[in-house]
């Protein structure tokens, strides 16, 4: 491991953390446009985070230290996940220490902390949100694992940079198994990031909330970290999708500035398109009844398994 690799690794994380709110802002802008509304500023998520960081944190009297610690744990998990996902370059020294399965574990860690913190205050809504989040989580995680397994079978490795690199080198190979996996992945992305049709990120109806219900008791810097982590999670999922299904443009070595600039430009273009597509999905769909969410995720799981079976049967 050389110094340059450490630097590119650091750079990848910084880019992810810094650009995540921008991606969320772009999705919100597209949503507003598609709904014939005037869009909020692109930088609105930064302003929200900035505003929250300047506020005084209010905590319930009877919360345990876990409640204070959880936002840092959640944000830390998401930032660590950003270090494993090859968004810009394939040369990520850290990725060799943690593969795609560990990545699912990182997301699960964040979820566990969020759910524990939500229950910590003892309010009805926190428990309600935590319960719903865990119900979705236990269905989403296996589906995501299956998606990774399908991709891993092709690449022969569970390391994301290796998977991305393998797919990058077979420019013209058609993998039907990946098509199944891609649809499954998209469904998991929607469910895991509290998007319509599973959850509504912009709702004010406390009884319908999933993710929002868990964070109702947070304020100020804690809430800022949680909001930032949520943006980062969406960014991570988008980059995971690119790494698995659209890896072209990710640099093998980020050492030279022109390569770096190229990789950044390609990532930006992909995010622009992905954000618009996500907004479109959210605009044309209504939110499903919460009891349909398990069906939705079971369908995702089934698709992912089908992808895996296709891969095993066809042996492309």
């Amino acid at each position: 491991m050389n110094a340059a690799a450490v630097l590119t690794q650091l750079f990848a994380v910084i880019v992810a953390v810094a650009a995540a709110p921008l991606f969320l802002g772009w999705v919100n802008v597209c949503r507003a446009w598609l709904q014939n509304r005037r869009a909020p500023p692109l930088a609105q998520p930064y302003r929200t985070i900035g505003k929250l960081l300047h506020k005084e944190a209010v905590l319930a009297h009877d919360v345990s230290p876990l409640f204070r610690f959880a936002p840092y744990a959640i944000f830390g998990s998401m930032a660590t996940a950003a270090a494993i996902i090859p968004a810009l370059g394939l040369d990520l020294p850290f990725a060799r220490a943690a593969d795609a399965i560990a990545l699912v574990g990182l997301f699960a860690t964040a979820r566990v902390f969020a759910a524990l913190a939500a229950m910590d205050t003892g309010t009805a809504f926190g428990t309600l949100g935590a319960r719903r989040e865990m119900m979705l989580g236990f269905l989403a995680e296996p589906a995501l694992l299956m998606v990774f397994f399908t991709a891993s079978l092709i690449a022969g490795s569970t390391e994301l940079p290796v998977i991305a690199g393998t797919h990058q080198s077979h420019t013209l190979a058609v993998h039907p198994s990946l098509a199944f996996a891609a649809i499954a992945f998209l469904m998991v992305l929607l469910a895991e990031n509290a998007r319509i049709p599973v959850d509504n990120p912009s709702t004010h109806l406390e009884l319908t909330m999933i993710h929002e219900a868990m964070v109702l008791e947070y304020s100020a810097r804690h809430l800022a970290l949680i909001e930032w982590a949520a943006a980062l999670k969406l960014f991570n999922y988008a980059c995971m999708g690119f790494a698995l299904f659209l890896p072209w443009g990710v640099a093998v070595d980020l050492a030279s500035p022109p390569v770096l600039a190229g990789a950044l430009a390609v990532l930006a273009a992909k995010l622009l398109l992905a954000g618009a597509a996500l907004a479109l999905i959210e605009t044309v769909n209504a939110k499903i009844r919460i009891f349909r969410a398990p069906e939705f995720l079971a369908f995702a799981f089934m698709l992912a398994v089908l992808g895996l079976l296709v891969r095993l049967l066809v042996q492309e």
Partner: protein, 499 residues
Amino acid sequence: MNATLAVEHAPVTREQWLPRIEALHAAGARLLTLWASDERDHGEGDLLRAAFLQPGGVVIVELALPDGAAPYPRIDELFPAAARLQRALRDLSGVQAEGGDRRPWIRHGAWSDGDAPLRRDFRGGTPDPTPYGFVRVRGDGVHEIAVGPVHAGTIEPGHFRFSVVGEKVLRLEQRLGYVHKGIERRFTELAPAAARRLAARVSGDSAVAFAWAFCLAEEHIRGVSVPPRATFLRALLLERERIANHLGDLGALGNDAGFGVGLAQFMRLKEDLLRVNAQVFGARYPMDAVVTGGVAIELTPAGAALLQQQFSVLAGETERLRAIYDDHAGMQDRFLGCGKVPGELARRLGVTGLVARASGIARDLRVDLPLPPYDALAVRCASAAGGDVAARVAVRFDELAESLRLGGELLRRLPPGEVCAPAQAPAPGGFGVGLVEGWRGPVFVALETATDGSIRRCHPHDPSWHNWPALEHAIIGDIVPDFPLINKSFNLSYSGVDL
């Protein structure tokens, strides 16, 4: 032209009270409201009145309760909607029913049991810190979710106590009264013109309906006959109020199902309507346009053309949006079968207005007791049989289309002439009622004036009283996240019942 409502007064003794009401119940009459007035200054104790709607008009059963009289026989076993009215009556007028639920309804501890703010000698009560006793549901895995009175969105305050197992709702109990503002008492302190302004503000989304009902009562007492042009303009305002509310509700229903496009589109249409209101009537919400004797607005030919054009634009746009709502699988999945109030239950609970029409009870005052100008318009009553959210959405769309048609019809037939009867000297004291089909249902106002023209008693009644209990039934068996959608499909008034 029969311009006034047929009102029959039926004074009864304590023994006749229940048989008389039982007879009305058996004849299919519907309870309008229950109220009492303090007649101690005339040496007569309280006068309890129950108003019922029957096919020919309104009948008011009157029971004198001298000081120290025994509690009156309860009527909530015949008319379940009376249960809350009886509790509110005790809180405000100190008139006690025999048996029944003894918990306060309007009273939130600002005064004590026995203090009666509507008594003429009431000068402030002593606070009562007794906590409210919610009904507890016990069982394995049952827990409570308490929502409100302060909500995450900007809506009116009300408390909802859900008893749930997992996501399934076993019981919902409402606690209202958070916006009690002493309106009924305030009426007696105001001159009639100011009282009319107050009536328009009982429930802001039904301003025209309440103002019209108040004016009908006052005009009845004074013997004022309203010029035909004024009745047409009143109906025009009322239909526009209905259109504005239905547009807003349909948008919000889309939004609550996670379909933001619906909200954006319907809100755009509602905003257009309000802007034209401001342009033509001088106010986005023309709250003070209906006045005693007529209206305080005049419609120019240019204004009429603008309204006519807007009605046809709205008709086209809402038809397109209805097609989108009807064809959207995701939304229909949320609407259909959700929050069901079957027709039989609706009849038993005495549900009224829009909610009743969505449960197959096709009753609409504009059809059943058409006052001018509705007698000349042949209003088509919207109705759906489902009793679920989808049915309430469908009724809203139907009523929207009908109101847009009526609006155009009113403008085409608008007679020339005065818009307001000339002012008259205040008539000697009297009693009058007004009954208007607002967008939620029948809006009722009873007014009693003294010989000097001042208001002795004014009792405005919002149809939400009858539909709030139905909401408690509609959610049973559904899941917690469906409640906002069901609640929005009812869209009941908090302010209108927390007088």
